[in-house]
Amino acid sequence: MRLIEDKDRRQRAILNIIVLLIAFVGVAKRSQTLDETSAFENILIDSFAPIQTSVTSLRTEVSSFFDNYLANISASKSNVDLRRKVQDLENSINAFEELEKENKRLKNLLQFGQGIGYKKILAQVVAWDASSDFRVIRINKGLTNGVRLQSPVVTSQGLVGYIYRLTDHFADILTVLDNNNRVDGLIQRVRAHGIVEGFNNEKSIMKYVSRAEPIILGDVVITSGLGNIYPKGIHVGTVSRIERESYGITQNVEITPAVDFGRLEEVVILSAEGDEQKKREWEALDQMDEAEENESRTNNSGRSR
């Protein structure tokens, strides 16, 4: 009775129910493998992401400042000129070394997968996901740079993940450490198949590997090419632990990813020209399925009448 009489309480109850219903529908509909952003989300993510990029750059600058200048504050005044020269030279050397390292990294990245028929897009990591439940990284390339949803992402070390969410200028990568990312993997030595799933911040697990497969520690895991996302032969990681129970038909294999996610700075997106074509084919198949379902429903209702 209090609820009906009190206007505020009634309003609050109605709003709570509406918001909960919308959220429950949202949870049910949310895809764990793909997220297509709306135009509004697109604009807002594109507005916030440059600030994330600036903060990342600022941190690098500050760190460089502390490394290069503060350590030298206590030097004597008589050596100021000399020190300045040395400092300048050191800065130049540091900068050259950094450039050389970057050059090597980028060269490796660009040389990687030369045989794979994909357009390679170089991108920088600008942020990580705001929730520790997800191992997702944000990069500074988007739709306008030719990135497509579900494009595989790699480094010279191996597989990083695939494009999960995309805006005009930025993209989110669902890494192989995330448990929503499932990669059809192949143990290179024995050609045994399994599904590689993210587990925590350092490890992935390979499921459904037959117990009879003679896997050993250190075996290399590569992508099998099945699943329509990753090309075949990309290095996923190495076997770091094997669990065989006394029962069951499979064994649990722990994988240490080939990519060091703690030091990830640049990645390469492999964007296939045929991605759009592939998407249209999937949509056409979905539409055919829906049309068949609708037809069978109409037939069933006709019969029941």
């Binding site: 206007k7 505020d8 309480r9 309003q11 609050r12 709003l15 709570n16 509406i18 918001v19 909960l20 919308i22 959220a23 429950f24 949202g26 949870v27 949310r30 764990q32 997220d35 989300e41 807002l44 993510i45 916030f48 600030i51 994330q52 990029t53 903060v55 990342t56 941190r59 690098t60 600008v126 942020a127 990580w128 996901d129 705001a130 929730s131 520790s132 439940d133 997800f134 997702v136 944000r138 999960y164 969410r165 989110d172 669902l174 448990n179 587990f199 925590n200 911040n201 996610f261 703690g262």
Partner: protein
């Protein structure tokens, strides 16, 4: 501020701005400093504040807007956090006569208790969707340090949010505004 939607717009705008700044700090700076495993869920902290202090019937809408903003920085989406937030606000509304955020220690304790409830609700939803218990166990070990940091930050943050939302700091939660 009880039922006046217009009076909520300004503090909501400022709160959203604070959330955006904190999310940028959490996503761009913290991981680059080497803290890859943990993130500080500032959205949870703000939503708990709304639950504790707001008397407006629009609390659920405010939670929805905050979670939607959070979703720009996480693929987590807005849905699960909204469900957890609204349920927690309903629970708090029934317990308001018992809860008094009169000291920092109590604020820290109460925030920790309701964060645990948040964890339980989100875990149930995740289990229903994923059917993966080991993931929830792994999430629990991350939840512990993250929630402790949030609880310790709560008295300071609630003070700032009190100024923004012009809530009375010393009142018991059950008192009318």
């Amino acid at each position: 501020m009880k039922g006046d939607w217009l009076k909520l717009i300004r503090p909501l705008g400022i709160t959203l701005l604070i959330l955006v700044v904190l999310e940028i700090f959490s996503t761009a700076l913290v991981p680059m400093l080497g803290l890859m495993k943990y993130r500080i869920p500032f959205n949870v902290l703000i939503i708990l504040y709304l639950g504790f202090k707001m008397e407006t019937p629009y609390t659920s809408l405010l939670i929805l807007i905050l979670q939607y903003t959070h979703s720009f920085f996480s693929i987590e989406g807005w849905e699960m956090g909204t469900i957890a937030g609204v349920i927690i606000c309903i629970v708090i509304s029934y317990l308001k006569d018992l809860l008094h955020l009169s000291s920092s220690v109590i604020t820290i304790f109460v925030t920790q208790v309701f964060q645990s409830l948040w964890f339980v609700i989100v875990s149930i939803l995740l289990y229903l969707k994923e059917e993966n218990f080991s993931y929830i166990v792994e999430k629990f070990w991350r939840f512990l340090p993250e929630s402790i940091v949030i609880s310790l930050l709560a008295p300071f943050f609630f003070g700032i949010l009190d100024v923004i939302w012009r809530a009375e700091t010393d009142r018991a939660l059950g008192d009318s505004v």
